[in-house]
């Protein structure tokens, strides 16, 4: 499998959860990769844990969070 295909599979898992209304509740990185915990408030769901192995997927999930922070900051300043 190409590196991109491995990343794409992990990205789809992340995006699927986000699409279902899940948010990131925790990220713990160790020698095996990043364990990302997702939970959903309404309707209550999870926790769901993904073990992200590829660098691009680990980057993707935090890029979503950085984007979320920027969006929140922009809303505060409105």
């Amino acid at each position: 499998m190409s590196a991109f295909a491995e990343f794409d599979r992990e990205r789809q898992e992340i995006d699927n959860l986000v699409g279902l209304g899940y948010n990131v509740a925790g990220i713990y990185e160790d020698l095996d990769g990043a364990r990302v915990t997702f939970i959903r408030r309404e309707p209550a769901g999870g926790p769901v844990e993904l073990l992200l192995l590829t660098a691009d997927a680990r980057k993707h999930v935090t890029t979503l969070l950085v984007g979320g922070s920027r969006q929140a900051a922009a809303e505060i300043h409105r």
Partner: protein
């Protein structure tokens, strides 16, 4: 024609091209010929208690057909009495009053020794002093040169002793043979340095003769470590100049030294924060007249850029030199191979297969011609293929547009800490 003159910590010079303290500035005869050729200044070969030098002294590293890619020496400071040097400095300054003469000095780390030499040298009329805390061989074994320069407190103390009596600007020359050169630079400034110069030579052994088993160079079958310089050290020097230039606690003018051979090198060092530069190895390889090409090249470059003065270059690239942790992880470049320029040597394919991410495929196009093609989705943009490619224009590194918003490693670390530190989930999207 742009103005090439500089003001280096109060020292006026007709251009930024100075000869470094080294064999080309050993005598008045040499320095005067250098000034006639066009050099704006010279740092006189280090003055101190005269030494006795060895034979042989120099060695070079030739690489891939390039002679003198690196240069190694075990020569020490001047082997002539102080008064002989001072007489020649006086004569040279009299003939070339508008050119810059800096006296490089090295004595034992004792206050009275520094006071004595500073007073005697300044009495003859020099434009500034450069304290040699960098020479890595010979003198260091006697507590001078790099042995002093590797102890920040000793650099500070000796600089302060010099400043107690000096009436001209004091430049402290730094050794690269240390973990963090900015520590020593900051201590030089604390001691009162008006400027710093870097880098001195790097500890080295040029080679071993595989037939005789002698070191290169050797003195009757025995060798010792020397100082390495020349084009091979330029990236190391440039990095150290940049680190000092962006350190706010340093904050004094920098004279850039290390492998400078062309006008382009000069531009790079000035963009990275040098107010002026010093050259040695290129002159030892090609002679004083290389300065003519350097002056012409710099003049044309400044005209093309529409700059009226060479000083407009100083430090312009420093804000672009950052920490790895602040680089944008979402910036993405990919390799693209231009079939019309590719000579199908396969070096990019081999490099990518063996040393990178296996994303260059060997294919056959519709006309049956062998082609190389990058799978862009798998390309990490490492640049290796374009580095090894021998054909101009065959591989371009293209920045992808419309990617994710910028995110650095440091930003990422902060956001992960924030998520893990809060009890509620973080919003995404």
């Amino acid at each position: 024609m742009a103005d090439l003159s500089i003001d280096f910590a109060g020292i006026k010079s007709p251009n930024p091209f100075w000869l470094a303290s080294a064999p080309p500035t050993n005598t008045g005869y040499q320095v005067q010929r250098a000034f006639e050729a066009g050099w704006g200044g010279a740092v006189w070969k280090t003055l101190g208690e005269p030494v006795i030098n060895t034979s042989a002294r120099f060695a070079a590293v030739h690489f891939g057909g390039q002679r003198v890619a690196g240069f190694n020496n075990i020569e020490l400071i001047t082997d002539r009495p102080l008064e002989v040097n001072l007489k020649e400095i006086y004569e040279t300054k009299r003939r070339f009053p508008d050119h810059t003469i800096i006296a490089s000095l090295m004595v034992e780390p004792k206050r009275e020794k520094w006071h004595e030499i500073v007073k005697r040298v300044e009495a003859i009329g020099v434009d500034g002093l450069e304290l040699n805390f960098g020479c890595p061989h010979g003198m260091a074994e006697r507590g001078m040169g790099a042995a002093s320069g590797q102890q920040p407190d000793l650099v500070q103390a000796q600089t302060a002793w010099v400043k107690e009596v000096a009436t001209t600007p004091v430049i402290v020359k730094l050794t690269p043979n240390i973990t963090d050169i900015t520590v020593v630079a900051r201590h030089a400034v604390k001691g009162g340095a008006d400027a710093i110069s870097l880098i001195n030579t790097i500890n080295s052994l040029a080679g071993v003769d595989i037939h005789s088993w002698n070191t290169i160079p050797n003195v009757g079958g025995q060798g010792a470590h020397g100082g390495y310089c020349g084009p091979a050290v330029k990236p190391i020097a440039l990095s150290m100049v940049a680190e000092c230039a962006r350190d706010r606690e340093v904050g004094v003018p920098i004279s850039g030294i290390g492998g400078i051979s062309t006008w382009q090198d000069v531009v790079e060092f000035m963009l990275m924060g040098s107010t002026g530069i010093q050259v040695c190895t290129a002159v030892m390889h090609h002679g004083f007249r290389i300065v003519e090409e350097m002056i012409d090249g710099l003049n044309h470059y400044l005209d093309e850029k529409g700059l009226a003065s060479v000083t407009e270059l100083i430090g312009k690239s420093v804000p672009r030199y950052s920490n790895w942790g602040d680089l944008d992880l979402n910036y993405q470049v990919v390799a693209r191979i231009n079939e019309e320029n590719c000579i199908n040597c396969n070096k990019c394919h081999i490099a990518c297969e063996d040393a990178s991410h296996q994303c260059i495929d060997m294919l056959t196009n519709a006309e049956g011609k062998a082609i190389l093609q990058v799978r862009e989705e798998d390309c990490v943009g490492c640049n290796l293929c374009s580095i090894v490619c021998p054909a101009d224009g065959a591989i371009d590194m293209i920045a992808l547009e419309g990617g994710a918003a910028p995110m650095s490693w440091n930003q990422r670390s902060r956001i992960i800490s924030g998520v893990n530190g809060s009890y509620s989930e973080a919003e995404v999207g």
